[in-house]
């Protein structure tokens, strides 16, 4: 029973860290965007205030069971990803599920949430939600291809599908972003779509779709979605650090590395207008796909 207790403790601590970091990053991104646009902007802890406000709302409406359970599906995906992805190097963190799932499993569990969420959004009957979902899924087909190419290149080059092994490899070879540069490029370009900042924010385009899939949600539902989003953001950033930047030995190092990675989609988004869905898909099937091919060739030759 002790191991089960330890496991649950690990899960809870990991979730809390992921939640805090994700929320702070999102707040920081709002602040930085505002400064770039020469506004004052909200304080960096604004997202915590928003989340607290949503959580303390008493009334809520729903359109049926799937809508009611949609945020729970979303949470499953976020928390499972954060449990599969090792937070620190060499088992300096709780092992969670690091050894029970591999990269392919991770790829699939990561889409579990969006699909569950899409079902919830579908039941609301709001046309904007469904339109947003179709755009989101189409865009996902777009960025998933270069992303998978990058991962396949890494996995085949180092003959392992385990994240822990890939992190161990980097202890000897150095960061994979230098030894497999093309895979890194493809993965980073795919990341732009994964984070859904501009120019790939057509899914929830605020002025056009009234936030898309999120519309019709409020109070506790929106709170759960928001928390899930920040946990998921942390999971994705940690994944990039683990895969390409040699992981991290302590939390401070992790924070520095993840924030550096986080700046890429954020800063790219600030100077970009919004793409239509087919433009977004074609974007991912252009240069990112080319770098993906180079990565595969690189993996084949070396």
């Amino acid at each position: 029973m002790e191991s089960v207790g330890y496991y649950i403790l690990g899960v809870i601590v990991t979730i809390i860290v992921a939640f805090m970091v994700g929320m702070t990053y999102m707040g920081l991104s709002r602040k930085i965007t505002a400064r770039v646009q020469n506004r004052k902007g909200p304080p960096f802890y604004q997202n915590f205030i928003d989340a607290f406000k949503l959580a303390s709302k008493e009334t809520a409406i729903h359109h049926g069971f799937m809508h009611h359970a949609g945020p729970a599906f979303l949470m499953v995906a976020s928390i499972m990803s954060v449990l599969i992805i090792p937070v620190l190097n060499d088992g300096k963190w709780f092992p969670n599920l690091n050894f029970d799932g591999d990269l392919i499993f991770l790829l699939y569990i990561m889409v579990f949430g969006p699909l569950g969420m899409a079902l919830g959004a579908g039941q609301t009957g709001n046309p904007n939600s469904a339109i947003g979902v179709t755009r989101g899924l189409s865009q996902m087909v777009g960025f998933e291809i270069p992303w998978v190419m990058a991962l396949v290149a890494l996995m085949m080059q180092y003959q392992t599908t385990s994240l822990v092994d890939l992190m161990a490899v980097q202890q000897t070879t150095g960061w994979l972003m230098f030894s497999s540069p093309f895979a890194f490029l493809a993965a980073v370009l795919a990341m732009l779509g994964m984070f859904r900042y501009s120019p790939f924010d057509i899914v929830g385009a605020p002025t056009e779709l009234a936030s898309g899939p999120v519309s019709e949600n409020g109070g506790k539902y929106l709170f759960t979605m928001m928390s899930s989003g920040s946990i998921f953001a942390f999971a994705k950033l940690t994944l990039y650090v683990d895969l390409f930047m040699g992981g991290a030995d302590n939390l401070i190092e992790l924070l520095i590395k993840t924030f550096t990675i986080y700046l890429i989609p954020m800063l790219y988004g600030m100077v970009s207008p919004r793409y239509r869905t087919e433009q977004a898909i074609r974007y991912f099937w252009g240069w990112p796909l080319f770098f993906g091919f180079l990565a595969l060739v690189h993996a084949m030759v070396f």
């Binding site: 029970d100 709001n126 469904a130 179709t134 291809i145």
Partner: protein
Amino acid sequence: METILTIFIIFIAGATGTYFLGKLSGILRSVIFITTLLVTSWLFFTAVSPDVIIEFEIMGILMSWGLTPLAYVFAIIVFGLAIIIGIYAIKAMEGQRSLNFFFANFLLSVMAMFGILISNDLISFFIFWEIMSWSSYFMVVLNHKDVQRSGITYIIFCVIGAYAMMMAIMIIYSYSGSVMIGDFISNFHAFSLGMKWLLPILLLIGFASKAALMPLHVWAPGAYSNSPMSYTALFSGALSKMGVYGMVIVMIMIVQQIPDGYWIKEVIAWLGGITSAIGTLWAIKQDDAKRMLAYSSVAQLGYIIVGVAIGTPLAMMSGLFLAVMHGIFKSTLFMVVGAIERQTGTSNFTEVTGLIRKMPWTFLAALMSIIALAGIPPLGGFIGKWMLYESLMGSNHYLLIIVIFFSSTAAFLYCYKFLFGFFLGQEEKEWSHVKEAPAMMVVPMIIMAILTFVLGVFPGLILKPINDGMQFLGYVSTDNRFWEMSTIFNDWGNQVVMEPIVYTIFAIFLFFLIFLTLKGYKNTRYVTTKDISSSGEIPREDENLTFITGFMQPFFRAVAPVMKRQIDKYYTSFGKGLEALFDFTRRIYTGNGQTYALYFVIFVILLLMFRDSLF
């Protein structure tokens, strides 16, 4: 008497009884039908063991029947599906016409599939193959709709496959003098090099036409969508697997023996990959659920064929596992469509919406099967997909894996379209009278949905017979090397442990579900789907804002270049060319005696002119 023979006699008696006694009363027909299926399945699961072989002679040809361990895996699919779909069919087919014929034919199909699996000689294999083709053809044209297009297309591809297979059988017999499959495999090295290439290709054409491998897949959408859904569940779930069964034997036992046979494997694997990609794209485009699922079947069989063709232990395991899983979730989906069609009268996404609150159990079955189809953990489809990817990586198929990834990611689009189109969206008054399907239809669907889950958590349950079958094919046992009851490993020793993962998923889901439900329980209320905030406007009662027409339009704008080419067009122009040729022949055979006399005169003159050089 041998159990196998008993099963056959029961099937034939059952089919005859269903047909003739069914004319007396409908209840009698159902009773005979379901008893036949129950007794045969019970006999199969309890009394048939894989090592009994019976031999007898008919008209001087030695026939040999017995169940190999490989066939046992497929027989599990056939009998498991037949009994569940059979129960479903009784209620689902209520009120349709030609019921006696339908149920007798259903039994004949199951019997033919069992016959294929137990045949150890090519003659009985071919006979059962033909019975299967014909019984399924009659089902395709059962409702007298679209006979010209779907029916004829289907039977043409059946015949192409059958001719190819028959040619191969004749060659084998004339060269080696034996029609035993075992003799053929052990004597294969003695054939000439040309025959070594020709025979597997002919056999593969025969099997691939049933498994709907590109470019022989043209019949599938029409045939699957045109038969009654109660049969399509069996058609796509079990019948198409007979093609896979044949391909497994050819790929492993025969192609292995060809020098440079490696290339056949690569070509078939790539065809499988392209089939899955093209099938998926076309599935997304369909507005009719039957056609969508038909294209999806084509795509899913593509994955299975990739696994079978690659042929490493992990790949073969994934192919066979996916075959079982596809049988389960695709037949459930076809049953769901059948239930919806029965309750609403249509299977078109653009017509019917918002059924989730009216048919909740059907929705649950559909949801589970769709999750399994999409390959999302923790349901069974994931295990198969995972093994397929790992095997592709372990065997250095760098590009094929990307194709497979593309098609399985794109599959999310039609998965969502299926669920959204039928169950979600705005509820309409037009469908407010719809009730849940009868229990006899819902229970089989739910059982299948639970099966997808059980096999997802404990894949070892079905990997055990698969392992036995693979050992029969000559593989080393994969037990504890690639799988345990709840764990799967890849070529490099990395693992996915399902049990803790599943428990964690459930814990998280339940925790947040309880949180969402209990928090502010009294102040949470349900509102209808008309009560929405759509740009500040509230739709009126008669307005329907569901977005379903042109559902994935932006995606198709992106992939438009791929969709332009269609294999059907090439077949049509080939057919037109043939027609022109026959027209020309028709001008020679005018039917006029005088013309024939003229031909004769010309022939004699020619003979006289060339007599020196000819004789």
